[in-house]
Symmetry: C2
Subunit: 373 residues, 2 copies
């Protein structure tokens, strides 16, 4: 197994506006994407990788030599890796509204000549899937061998099977849920309030003020980060370890390692992530609920799906617990769909979907063997 090496991002500008679920139209939309491996003559070996909250089209490989630029799922995607680029043509795409190159709130609103800011239209998982479908059209790919995603990416994979069932043979849905719970929405709302009430947010038009709502972004990331890790992994990595031998007896200075870690994560995030994107992406998570149009009946909602499914959950994931994955599996089985389900005993919580746990990667490897045949 080796890395895919140096990769280059490409882009596609849509000629027609993207019509969104809200009814709004996104004009001048550009998607940034990457591809790895070779599309076969039958154009039948394409696998689309959907990203979650803070990731991008840069799934695998590196831009330049430093380690930092490695793709976010580089441990999974590459020559000889579980999602093997010697066999599959793998596509990573940045979703509209994100902040890594595709049209987003920091770009110019053609209607005003100024950055969209808070006026960027609200985008949904379904909108992203439709934008991704346009990319496939441009690449001449009628149908995907598979679509794969973790967390919010898993929601996109699921949505693909409902909106474009004829265009997807397999869906791999990892660490996901068929909709957010009240508690999930609550955490998103805390993060949004932290950002929106930061005086540097300026109603979402902070670009014009030359500032960034860093305070809000930091708090948002800290609260998010807590939900990505399991209680267990926090206990084993940090526990009650203190920075100093004797307590400082201070409310504002760092006493515990976990505080240091969270502040670092918050600071790092506030340096690169866009505040309006954070609002948009958490909202897309909130809205996703395919059962809603069917009176809350998930089984009826999934009747449209014809793909084969691999659903994977992690025992210590309390953000999207195994119970939520089992809801999805049950609804698929109610429709007599072809479903494999794996509940991986992993300590890392929600973040486990990004790790290279051997059982997890072994499971993905064998599923992709099946997809390839």
């Amino acid at each position: 197994m080796s890395s895919i090496g140096i990769v280059i991002a490409q882009s596609l500008q849509f000629t027609a506006p993207l019509v969104l679920q809200s009814g709004e139209r996104l004009a001048d939309c550009t998607l940034v994407y990457e591809t790895y491996g070779t599309l076969n003559a039958e154009r039948s070996n394409a696998v689309l990788v959907c990203h979650a909250l803070n990731a991008s089209h840069h799934v695998a490989g590196r831009y330049t030599e430093p380690d930092k630029s490695a793709g976010w799922w580089d441990n999974l995607v590459g020559p000889g890796k579980p999602l093997d680029t010697d066999r599959f043509f793998v596509i990573g795409v940045n979703n509209p509204g994100s902040c890594f190159g595709s049209t987003g709130p920091m770009h110019t609103n053609p209607a005003t000549g100024r950055p969209y800011g808070a006026d960027f239209p609200v985008v949904t998982v379904e909108d992203w899937v439709d934008a991704q479908a346009r990319l496939l059209d441009a690449l001449g790919i009628a149908a995907l061998a598979a679509v794969i995603g973790g967390s919010l990416g898993g929601m996109q994979a699921l949505s693909w099977t409902l909106r474009h069932p004829a265009r997807v043979r397999h869906a791999v849905v990892v660490a996901c849920a068929p909709s957010l719970s009240a508690q999930n929405i609550a955490f998103n709302e805390v993060a949004r309030r932290a950002i929106v009430t930061d005086p540097d947010f300026h109603g979402g038009h902070f670009y014009a003020h030359g500032v960034v709502p860093r305070r809000g972004l930091r708090v948002a990331r800290m609260v998010g980060h807590i939900t990505y890790l399991s209680d267990d992994v926090m206990a084993s990595k940090f526990g009650r370890q203190m920075l100093h031998e004797h307590p400082l007896y201070s409310t504002q200075e760092i006493e515990f390692q976990i505080e240091s870690y969270l502040r670092y994560q918050g600071d790092k995030f506030a340096e690169y992530f866009d505040a309006n994107t954070y609002l948009l992406i958490t909202r897309a998570l909130d809205y996703f609920d395919p059962a809603r149009a069917h009176g809350g009946d998930l089984s009826r909602a999934l009747a449209a799906a014809t793909a084969g499914f691999l659903v994977v959950s992690f025992t210590t994931d309390w953000r999207f617990s195994p119970e939520r994955s089992r809801e999805l599996v049950k609804a698929l089985l109610d429709n007599r769909r072809d479903v494999s389900y794996a509940e991986i005993d992993a300590p890392h919580g929600h973040d486990a979907f990004l790790m290279d746990d051997p059982r997890y990667h072994g499971m993905l490897r064998s599923y992709f063997e099946r997809v390839a045949t």
Copy 2:
């Protein structure tokens, strides 16, 4: 069972400074407290009730007629109630550093003539227990029949049995843990960062600026509130209910009932709670760890306790899970202490300790029967 009726708060000013764990001295310390029922001739029927984060000395009864002024544990404490004021002399006391009357950060620092603000010394659970012991001295109470508290109040009850073992016959420790986990500390730190980074915090000296760091307090309360409720009760009370028939497709307007509820809780809290107190009280929670002085060995730490114990946990409490209460029970049993343990199957999460669940209150009632005899 009837309410205790109209009650009046009293206060006690210490003549000598309170020497704190940090080594600092708190001069001019006043404690506000309430008592219910009558101290018997033997002075043997006193029960001390310790408060948690946002509560006070006002445990039971009312100040005036409106419902709002009812004590925070009025469902538990009163004539004929599980903690029966016809039999017990019950004491509620506001801890130093709080914002309900006892000396706190909004009061004048005798050293400067200005409000303490962020210079209020860091107080610990142990400091509170020592202050409470001084109140007992003033009331002529050599030993408590029992000390009771939930959450942070439970930590005080536990600390009583270690610092003043000869002065406490029984300890009732509800919805508690022998120390915070890394995840617990992490949530506290998010809340503190939200407050401290609010520009209206002014380094903790916001009183002089005539402002309150409301934005930070709101976010702090919202994140706290999520941890007080179980995932289940949030799902059953709010689920994915939306405010409007059709989505607004907005990132800032309220879409879901849970958002409305959390914002309301945050707004209400920011109106009455002091930001410096929030920092102090969450820090007291972080620091509490009786095992620390014994190399992390809780059993050794609890060897000093001689009281009888009732430990109560709630199945859906994920802030201080039953597992944490069982740690406490195990350490007490290792010391062959007299311990009763109840794990109450209740849906409300951590907040269950404030509810009048019949199994829970039945358990407390029978334990206090035992305390009385």
